[in-house]
Point group: C2
Amino acid sequence: MLRRDYPGLDCSVAKALEVIGERWSLLIVRAVMHGNRRFGEIQESLGIARNVLSARLERLVEEDILERRAYQEGPPRFEYFLTEKGLDLWPALIALLHWGDRYSPSPDGPRRLIVHKECGGGVSERGTCESCGKVLHARDARELPGSESESTPFAAEAI
Amino acid sequence: MLRRDYPGLDCSVAKALEVIGERWSLLIVRAVMHGNRRFGEIQESLGIARNVLSARLERLVEEDILERRAYQEGPPRFEYFLTEKGLDLWPALIALLHWGDRYSPSPDGPRRLIVHKECGGGVSERGTCESCGKVLHARDARELPGSESESTPFAAEAI
DNA sequence: GTGGCTTAGTTGCATGAAGCAACTGATGTG
DNA sequence: CACATCAGTTGCTTCATGCAACTAAGCCAC
């Protein structure tokens, strides 16, 4: 990507893309929302090269989108959590997810179903609950297995 | 970016990013929404290298996000317009714009103001009208000058 | 009709990011 | 002691990006 910034552009979309527009960045955020917290988990779930993941995590922590917390001392080991700033990417992710679903659909329907924790209603393209109509945020939603089954807290204890 | 695809990832966000996740792609879509239709206009408004713009436009046309239309024969000249698929990126762009605005604010308030054409109300992070509450789409909104003044049809005649 | 201007690209080259595989370092297990 | 695990780091190759210069095709003025 040569440079990650877009010099001279006074545009909020460009500012956002300077932070999360690099290859893999947004997918890492999504992986963490999905419940992957450790280096190895994220690496495996995305199939990203380890050196690239290392660089991206460092930058995402620098940008205050992820937080790195030690979960043991022995050999120091860390987990990555989303900050508020990171969780606030949820509406953008939901919009992209719906767009991807609409225009590159998988043969067996939506790959994963995001639902409102409280009432179980589907989450619309705009991040609102299709059943109760509430405007949702990252912590209000969780992910259902869809076709694959795995761990499924969409930002459940993401903090 | 080496590869633009994310092989092996069964995720709608990844599918979306395979199409519009390359450096510059989303900014080109935004530039066209903003009213830039010609090669030179887009190039100048973004400061992108001409060969890269050429490659991106070709791909966006291939992916049916932009449509290339001749506006003269003499020396063949073209303009680029958004398709429905391209216009449907609006909610994602709005979400990113708000996120960028919140976390990389410009010193003099929002860089550009997006408003509901019909009633003049502001457009929320979710792409709804803050005044009348309607769920908006690309064609329902337009852009106000903000701090800079320029042409301002946010997808006004984007088709 | 020759030189210059505009528009929309294309070509060639230097740089640097991404991918891959192998390695490190600290620790825990049989 | 040998081996495995986890979280990276290092070295190397390949391909995308950015820059600048060039092409092409018509238009305009003198």
